[in-house]
Structures are given as C-alpha cells and as structure tokens.
C-alpha cells in the first residue's frame, strides 16, 4: 500500500504518518487506533492467506509502517475481535477483485482504491463497535474527540510526598542507581535529611537547614558529579544564587561547562549517554534546593535538544551545536524577553506615578531602570519582608540609578497604599489555572491593592509558564530554614531554644499563590494578557514545539 499518502485515503492515517515523521509523540487515541489497525491487518492477512498469497505483499507494507506492537495491545484483543468479525464481510466482497491471478498494472490503482475503501469501512466498523457500551477498553476513545489531550494522571513529584515513607525509600534507591561508575556507595548522591520540627500542615514537604548543605556528605573526589554542578548546588542551598532567572541562567552555564568537558564513551551514542549523565546532576541539584518551574522548563529543553542530535553527527560538532542552542535559549527566553516586556511595561508607566514593588525581581528592576532611562518621572516604594529582606537589594540598585525610593516593611502596607498608583510584581511561575506563584507575601500585596483599587500588574517571561495547577499555598511549596526567623531585639533572642520546646514550630515559607482575580494584567514577551490566558499560551507553545 504505497499510496498511503493519498489525499482521499483515510485521513487518520495521514495524520499518524505525518506526526510520526515530525517526531511528535502519538497520543493515546492515535496509538489505540494504530493498534486496532494492526490487528485488523493481521486478521485480513490471515484471511487473505487462504484466498491467495499475492495479497500478503500488499498487506505487509502497511504493517511495516506501523509502530511496533505495544504490550497493552493484548488488552485490546477482546474488543478488536468482535469488530473485525463484521469487517470481513465487506472484505470478501472485494475479494473477487483480488483473486485474479495476474493483476495488470492498469487494474492496480483501481484495486488498491477498492482495498483502501475496504480498509476504511473496516476501520469505521471497529470505531462504531468500539463506541458501543459493551466494549470494555473503549472508554477512553469515546471521551476524546480532540487529539490533543495529554494523559491526565501524571506521577506526583517526590518533593511533595515527604510524609510517605515508601516514596522516600524509592527516592533513596533512585539516587543509588544513578551512580554511573560501578564503584562503591561512596559515589552515590547523598539523600539530604530534614531538619527541625515541621508544622503538621506541611509534613508532606522537605525542610532543610542551611547549616547542613548536601555537599558535606559528598566524598572527594566525587566522580559522579561534575565540580561545576557541585558548586552550583552549594550556591543554591546557601542562597547565594537566588531568584528564578538567576538560577536558570546559572544552571544553563553549568550545563554548558558539563557539555564542554564531556567525552562520549566508546560504543555509546552522545544523544542517549549525555542525557543519562545529566540525570544524577539534576537529582543532586534537586536535593540541594527543589527545582523551580523555570529550571524545569530549561532542563526539558536541553534534554530535547540533546535527544534530537542525529547519531551520525561528530562529537565536536554536536557539542558546539548544543552550546549554541543553550546560548540561544538564554538570549531568546531571558534577555530578549526582558527587553520585550520592558517595552510593553513602559507604556503602562506614566509621569507622576507612584509604583510599588515587592522584594527583588530582576525583571521588575529592569523595567524600572529602563523607564527611568526613558525619562519617565516616577517614584518607587519598595516593600520588604522578613526574613529574607530581599527588598534591600532592589532598593540599593534603584537608588544607585537615581530613582527616588521609599522603603517599608510589608506590615506597613495599609499605611502606604493610599499613595500608590500602580503595583508591579514579579513571578516565579504562572500556573495553568491562572494562579501566580511568587515570593510569599505577593498575594497579600495583591489583596490589599485590590481593596484600595490599585491596579496590579504581574511581569513574567513565557518560559516560566508551567502546566501545574494549584489553588492554595500548602500542597506544593518550599520550606526554608526555620532558624532564619530568629532575631535578636534588645539583646534578647526570644526563639533561641525553639527546638527544645516541643509545642513550638517555626514556619518559613518561600512561595505563595495569588488568585487570578487579584491580578489585573500579566505582561509577557508575547504581549499583555489576562491571568486566565495562561493555558492558551501554553498550548500555543506546545504546538510550536
């Protein structure tokens, strides 16, 4: 059946072959359809074997084009069986066509058309039979008219299942398995242990202490983990590199170094081996500090680029290609995106504005500095919060540029908001249900701003958009070192011995989610969109890729 690409042939088949050529993963529905087709082909082949050997050649070609059978195919057998039972009826009808011993070339197109028709009818029969309530495994098929629904149930990430001992054991085993050299246990990635009393509402999350970085548990020399990754992990866990853009860029630079130092071992392909090499690094970084959404997207991109390296590519060429890919990613998604966002945001800043910002967001700082360069007259109020006090860094940078600033703590928000005309917030990630995940305290600012009718604008690059959904700040969050909350006032540290008191717990949250009704506008590199349009952008991005 060399004429599979015929326009009047079954449209589904075209889709499948086209998508296969593009390397796109087949959806569940398409896979099922393919399996059914394959089964049907097999049945047809058997029947035609009785009728004549000539047809088998024709049948063999479509079979070879189909993907190798899935193990799940056995489940489909019961439903496939009754369906083709009705299918053979049209086939024998066309069999008289095939039984001619020597098909002339002139007849060939006509016969293949007839066979195509038979195929189509057979498939329609199977579809119809599958749609009947009697068939067992067709439930998924009837539900999905669109071909773009991804599998609904994803595996729950480990870092929100700390209270399940089975999951923790599984992670420990995974870390052991990820040693690439068969030396002893000293080469595996250590498992970081939790610190301090955890508040019961958050017992499903990790809580680490900054005084016990993971690197202390590593043996030297550690051949599993590249030294730049070790350094990066330490920088993450000590908070030296903080902020989602900074972390992503640092990660990508570290990966560039890894790629430069990489040599393909003999008998291995670069595309597969390099991805495997990156896995323990990612686990290590995850242990140092849970990965952010932006880092997750960057890693996905790199893995995709690596797997797309053709096998005949020479190593040097492949490496340079990867390095340029990474550079381009940083340039496009972070640097140029920031420029685009500044351009849009500056339209929203008018003379005489009083702008409120919270904490330190590299993007918002960028916007304000550029607006100041373009001689907009405004002043800034920087809101800060304990224990991180990141606002001081933002304040320093803005004052250095010459922007007039005011500094308050977040508890003074109701006092200062009547003066404010706009609020600019940065984001750590934008979730698919429109919620904004950002530094803890952002939702509070949005709430109070909404009460005083002050517009809230969130600035976020599209590479931070994430497919997760979340409605509150509990189910997935990060717990920082609880000792950071201790403070000395008037020479007394009240919470000095909080560990000794059994009923006292300290909670140092890092992120919170802001509901979309508090946010008036999201400024991205694709333009200015409302919060609820995030899944649209994600869908467009997926189609592009």
């Amino acid at each position: 059946m060399a004429d599979c690409g015929e326009p009047d042939g079954p449209g589904n088949k075209d889709d499948i072959t086209r998508s296969k050529n593009e390397g796109k993963e087949l959806t569940k529905e398409e896979k099922q359809r393919l399996r059914k087709q394959k089964k049907h082909q097999k049945k047809q082949k058997e029947r035609k074997n009785e009728k004549g050997p000539s047809e088998t050649e024709k049948d063999k070609t479509p079979v070879s084009l189909l993907p190798p059978p899935q193990p799940v195919a056995t489940q489909k057998a019961p439903s496939a069986l009754p369906a083709p039972a009705s299918a053979p009826i049209p086939v024998p009808a066309s069999a008289p066509f095939h039984s001619s011993p020597a098909p002339s070339p002139a007849d060939k197109p006509a016969k293949s058309k007839a066979e195509l028709k038979a195929e189509r009818r057979a498939r329609q029969e199977t579809d119809r039979a599958a749609k009947q309530p009697g068939s067992s495994s067709s439930g998924i098929k009837t539900k999905v008219p669109l071909s773009e629904l991804n599998p609904v149930v994803k595996r729950l990430p480990e870092h929100v299942q700390v209270d399940d001992p089975a999951v923790v054991k599984r992670l420990a085993k995974k870390l052991e398995r990820q040693q690439t050299l068969p030396y002893g246990a000293s080469n595996k990635i250590p498992l970081r242990s939790d610190y301090g009393y955890k508040v019961s509402l958050f017992s499903h999350l990790h809580q680490y202490s900054r005084k016990a970085p993971l690197t202390q548990l590593l043996s030297i020399p550690s051949t599993v983990i590249h030294p730049s990754i070790v350094r990066l992990g330490l920088q993450y866990s000590q908070g030296i590199v903080a902020g989602s853009n900074a972390r992503s860029v640092a990660l990508l630079h570290a990966f560039k170094q890894v790629i430069r130092d990489y040599t393909t071992p003999p008998n291995e392909e670069l595309s597969r081996d390099l991805v495997n090499k990156l896995k323990p690094y990612i686990s290590f970084l995850n242990q140092c500090r849970p990965l952010s959404a932006s880092m997750g997207n960057a890693i996905k991109y790199i893995k995709k680029e690596i797997s797309n390296i053709p096998s005949q590519c020479k190593e040097e060429e492949a490496k340079t290609k990867l390095l340029t890919c990474i550079d381009r990613y940083i340039e496009e998604k972070i640097v140029l995106a920031a420029k685009a966002i500044s351009k849009y945001a500056i339209e929203k800043i008018s003379d005489g504005d009083v702008i409120l910002v919270y904490g330190y967001s590299s993007l918002v700082n960028n916007i304000l500095c550029e607006a100041f360069e373009k001689s907009r007259k405004f002043r800034v109020i920087v809101v800060d919060s304990r224990p991180r006090l990141e606002g001081r860094e933002a304040l320093r940078r803005l004052v250095q540029r010459g922007i007039s600033c005011t500094y308050v703590l977040i508890s003074a928000l109701s006092y200062i908001l009547p003066e404010v005309s706009k609020v600019f917030l940065g984001a750590h990630a934008l979730l698919a249900n429109g919620y904004v995940m950002s530094r803890v305290g952002t939702s509070q600012i949005a709430l109070v701003a909404r009460t005083y009718n002050v517009p809230v604008l969130v600035c976020c690059e599209t590479y931070k958009f994430c497919e997760r959904v979340q409605t509150d700040s509990f189910v997935s969050n990060e717990l920082d070192d609880p000792d950071d909350l201790m403070v000395t006032r008037k020479g007394k540290t009240q919470l000095e011995n909080w560990q000794d008191v059994s009923s006292l717990g300290l909670l140092n949250l890092v992120y919170d989610v802001t509901p979309p009704d508090f946010v008036d506008l999201v400024i991205t590199d694709l333009g200015m969109i409302p919060c609820t349009s995030v899944p649209v952008v994600l869908r467009v991005k997926n189609l592009d890729q």
Partner: protein, 342 residues
C-alpha cells in the same frame, strides 16, 4: 508643713509618671502594658483627689482636667490615660448628682426632648459643696480600680465559649489579654495557634514562647505569610491598642492586612479588648515613628493601623461580647459627652 509636703509629693509623683509615659512611647513599644498604665493613672488621680485642694466638684474637675491634659500631651498615642481621666470625671459628675439628690438616669440620658426643651442644660456649674463628696469620689475610684484589676480575668473567663477543639487560631504580635484568653481555653481544649511575628519588633516571638510554655501548639510565621496560611485558619483573635467610638480599631501595624485577609476567607475576627481601651476619638492620626532619610530614601515605620468596623466580627470585653455596631452605646455609659474633648 504637711500640706506643702503632700503637695510636693504629689507633683513629684505626677512628674515621674509623665516622664515614664514620655519614655515609654519612644522606645520599642510601651514599657508596660495598657492595663498597668490605666491602673497607675487611676491611682494617681485618686491621689490627686485626696491631696489636692478643692472645695467643690467643679474645682476638682478643673484640676483633674488640667492634669489629664498634661498626661495626654506627654504621650498622645497612649489613649488609656485620657480614657481614665474621662472615667474619673464621669464618676465625679455621678457622685455630685447623687449628693444633690437627683436620680442618675434622668441626668445621664440625653434625650432629644431634653436637648430641645432645656437649651442650656448644664446650667449647673458644680459649685455646691458637699461634705461627703470627697469620700464618695474616692470610694468610686477604688471601685474603678478593682474593676481594672479584674479585666483580664473577666475576658479570659469567656474563652471557652468561643474556642472549640482542634481549631486553628491566628493572632498578631503580642497582647497580654489574648495570651490570657488562649491560656485559659487551653486548660480544657486542644487547639493550634499561629502567631504572626509582627516585624520590625517581632513581639510575636515573645507571645509564641509564652504560649508554647503553656503547652499550646504554636507556630510562628513571618508577616508575609499571613494571607498564604489564612485559608486554614478558623478564627482570628487579636488584641488592640484602642477601640474607637465607631467600633473601629487602632491596633498594631499589620492588623489591617490580617483583617482584610480574614474577610476574604470569611474568617471571623474577634477582638479581645477591655473597656478601658474604649476611646471617644473617631478620627485617628497614624503615628509614624521613624522617618529616616538616608540621602535618597524615605523609610516609613508606622506604629498603628486603622481597622474599620466592617472588618470586625466581635468584641470581647470584660462586660461580655458585643458587636462593633454597639460600641457607641457603651461609650455613652462610660463617659459623659461634655468631657469628650479634654
């Protein structure tokens, strides 16, 4: 001469008290709680009544007004001082009226009829001299002092009516009243308390330590996390510095955010405040404590927040629970309208 000595002693006491007040406001929070301030003020006013020279109620009221003005000028943010002065003035009026023989109710009530018909109602200038007025006034002030001493216990006794088991309660900063309230409930019920630390002075830490010593499950959170955890909170119980005449609050910095977050999640906001905090002021001026200007930066550090009455669910005071819309009525029982501007 004993009289002069007494007077010198009295003025010394007053000066010491004023100095204390002045000092208390500028530091990192008052040196003593409002309850103590109220008791000291009342004790001082009792001394003034006993030792100052006055012949009629009018004179006494003048003296007390004068001292009261000085005290409130020393520390304007400490409103309990002014409140106690008003209470004492009301006591004097009552005692005077009782000595005169007229019934208390008719004099106190400001009915519309009276306003229209009598015109110059307060014709009486309190000039008459009564022998037992002094003793009566001092006795009444003693009663007031007893009442003041028992306010915290009275409020704490109501705790079990408002807290059920396995609740999550949020509170802000440090309030002695709320501490006593929660400790009393903890004797019989098990619940969880989340304390917002209230930067920059972090009084919440002390509150958390005290509560956890009483075996209450306590968690300390940063101010920024208030909205994030509010969805799991069942009740918010706070103390306040002043209760205003319209039912609003003047409370520690950050309370307005808590109130807004509680309203968003429909969580009840309960204020534990004894009656001596009720002030006839309605318009408040936010006290800004520090304004440091480091070349190009203004730093603001407001001490108090105004919380409008719509955000408050319930007031628990030593005379029971009240809705915010009823506060104005309570005020007329405690203070006389003519004294509202000292």
């Amino acid at each position: 001469m004993p009289g002069a000595d007494k007077e010198a002693d009295l003025t010394e006491r007053i000066e010491a008290f004023l100095a204390d007040l002045k000092r208390g406001g500028c530091g990192t929070g008052p040196i003593r709680g409002s309850g103590e301030t109220a008791r000291e003020t009342t004790a001082l006013l009792r001394k003034v009544t006993a030792q100052a020279r006055w012949s009629s109620a009018g004179d006494l009221m003048e003296i007390i007004r004068k001292e009261g003005r000085r005290m409130t000028a020393a520390q304007p943010s400490e409103t309990t001082v002014g409140n106690m002065v008003l209470r004492v003035l009301k006591i004097i009026r009552e005692e005077y009226a009782r000595s005169r023989g007229s019934s208390e109710e008719t004099d106190q009530q400001e009915s519309l009829h009276k306003l229209l018909t009598s015109g110059g109602l307060s014709d009486e200038n309190f000039r008459q001299h009564y022998v037992h007025l002094k003793a009566n006034v001092i006795e009444a002030i003693n009663e007031l002092l007893t009442e003041l001493e028992g306010t915290t216990d009275n409020i704490a006794m109501q705790a079990l009516e408002h807290i059920h088991s396995n609740e999550v309660i949020m509170t802000v900063g440090r309030s002695r009243t709320v501490e006593a309230f929660l400790k009393d409930a903890a004797r019989k019920r098990k619940f969880h308390v989340i304390v917002a630390e209230c930067a920059p002075f972090c009084q919440g830490h002390e509150m958390a330590t005290n509560l956890s010593k009483a075996s209450i499950e306590t968690t300390v959170i940063a101010d920024a996390a208030i909205f994030a955890v509010m969805s799991r909170v069942n009740k918010v119980i706070i103390g306040t510095q002043t209760v205003l005449a319209n039912g609003g609050l003047r409370a520690v910095n950050g309370t307005h955010t808590v109130a807004l977050a509680a309203r968003h999640h429909s969580t009840p906001l309960i204020v534990c405040a004894p009656m001596f905090k009720l002030s006839p002021q309605v318009v408040i001026t936010t006290v800004v404590r520090n304004r440091i200007i480091l070349s190009k930066v203004n730093v603001h550090c407001p001490v108090f927040d105004y919380v409008p009455p719509e955000l408050i669910t319930l007031f628990i005071s030593n005379i029971g629970g009240n809705a915010p819309s009823y506060i104005y009525r309570l005020m007329s029982e405690l203070y006389h309208p003519e004294d509202h501007d000292l």
